[in-house]
Assembly symmetry: C2
Homo-oligomer: 240 residues x 2
């Protein structure tokens, strides 16, 4: 069944208007017609079985029929990721959605080559991945900020998993402990500058971790770190 | 420093001939000249510091100078992966090299849409990823075989981690135990057929595992499974 994220409220017999892209996908690509069913979620009202109520040249209208899953939220996990090359950044955002991150904060570091990116496109990738992975919310992709500024305003109650290539960090599975809100930090292709690394290692909220003996590309490091966090502290611990 | 995989033997003052593609990369893309240094490995003789000894129109010649790392082999881990769509399969092979798999066995399952692929191209991707990740061997990519045939001839001493979407498998970190040779099985986009799943669940060498509550694409599942295996049973356990 096709799953779509919509912004409208979902309740019994409520109408939802898909975006023009979604409407085109439903009617032109998937060739749905009046009466065909889809699943809808909006991040607030759970998942709803819905049907195509109307098709016109300008789009289509969906009617929610019954709630199939109550709203639920995954663990409180953010991904903080440097502006790496576009293709890898898009992969990272897609995988963050699949692996249950709540937010993706883009950051600019000393060795980041770019200082801006198309956040709207990344948000669309996050939305599509959330639709396909079955979650009931969409991770929010946040405009890039400078790493130093982000650390200046960091809420010390949120732990930060720092994937530290440079040396003596403990294996991630050993180092990860403490329930509560977390974030994972993934650096740029060239790694962190010495002064960034020093600041991170000195912060009380930072947990440096090692991701094994081989050099990982940024997208691999992000997926591995999200996986290990979910397996050790997140919702992969629960039996299905 | 540029790292290259070569097939020649490496010893003091031995000459190695890079492939035409490698030679083009060294001299035309990276503009190396006589005397410039590279690192070489061949999967047998460790890693060697080498220098460009000669450049001609037809290529270049490298001379190994001193061994910088003795030969070492990662844990005995294979990845068995269904022929998923090309872009995702290429990602999986790249990541298998980064995450330390020794071999990648391609398989055809009931719901696999293809029965062949360009294995030479996948081998080249594995080689390049091995060069960049710093390992001292290159994972071998093996021609596709049918899953049933592979299971018929399976060495029961090798455990098989079966990423089972269909239900009651235990979380991977809990289910993974036992040292020794292992393989990880990743199915096609449409999942395994019921009779395949039944056969897998019944085999004594199979350990079914769950990869969390969300639906993962094949490339994500492969990276997550390799990560969890390395962290629980492989070389990510060792302090750096």
């Amino acid at each position: 069944m096709i799953r779509l994220f919509v912004t409208d409220a979902l309740s019994s017999a409520a109408r939802a208007a898909p975006s023009p892209d979604q409407a085109r996908y439903l009617t032109t690509v998937m060739r749905l017609g009046v009466g065909d069913e889809v699943a809808l979620f909006n991040g607030r009202d759970g998942e709803w079985r819905a049907r195509v109520a109307e098709v016109s040249k300008r789009g289509c209208s969906l009617e929610s029929m019954e709630q199939t899953r109550p709203q639920a939220l995954g663990p409180d996990l953010d991904l903080v990721v440097a502006l790496v090359k576009r293709a890898r950044l898009e992969t990272i955002v897609e995988k963050a959605a699949e692996l249950g991150a709540r937010r993706v904060q883009l950051v600019v570091t000393r060795r980041t080559n770019a200082d801006h990116t198309n956040v709207g496109r990344l948000q669309a990738i996050a939305t599509e991945a959330a639709e396909q992975t079955g979650r009931l919310d969409v991770p929010q992709v946040l405009e890039p900020v400078k790493l130093d500024k982000l650390l200046d305003g960091w809420d010390a109650a949120r732990k930060l998993m720092f994937c530290d290539e440079g040396g003596d960090a403990r294996p991630a599975l050993d180092a990860l402990a403490d329930e509560g809100p977390w974030a994972i930090l993934i650096g740029p292709e060239g790694g962190f500058a010495p002064e960034e690394r020093e600041r991170l290692r000195a912060a009380a909220f930072v947990t440096p971790v090692s991701l094994g003996p081989r050099i990982l590309r940024a997208d691999t490091a992000a997926i591995s770190a999200l996986t290990l966090w979910q397996a050790k502290l997140g919702d992969w611990r629960d039996a299905p």
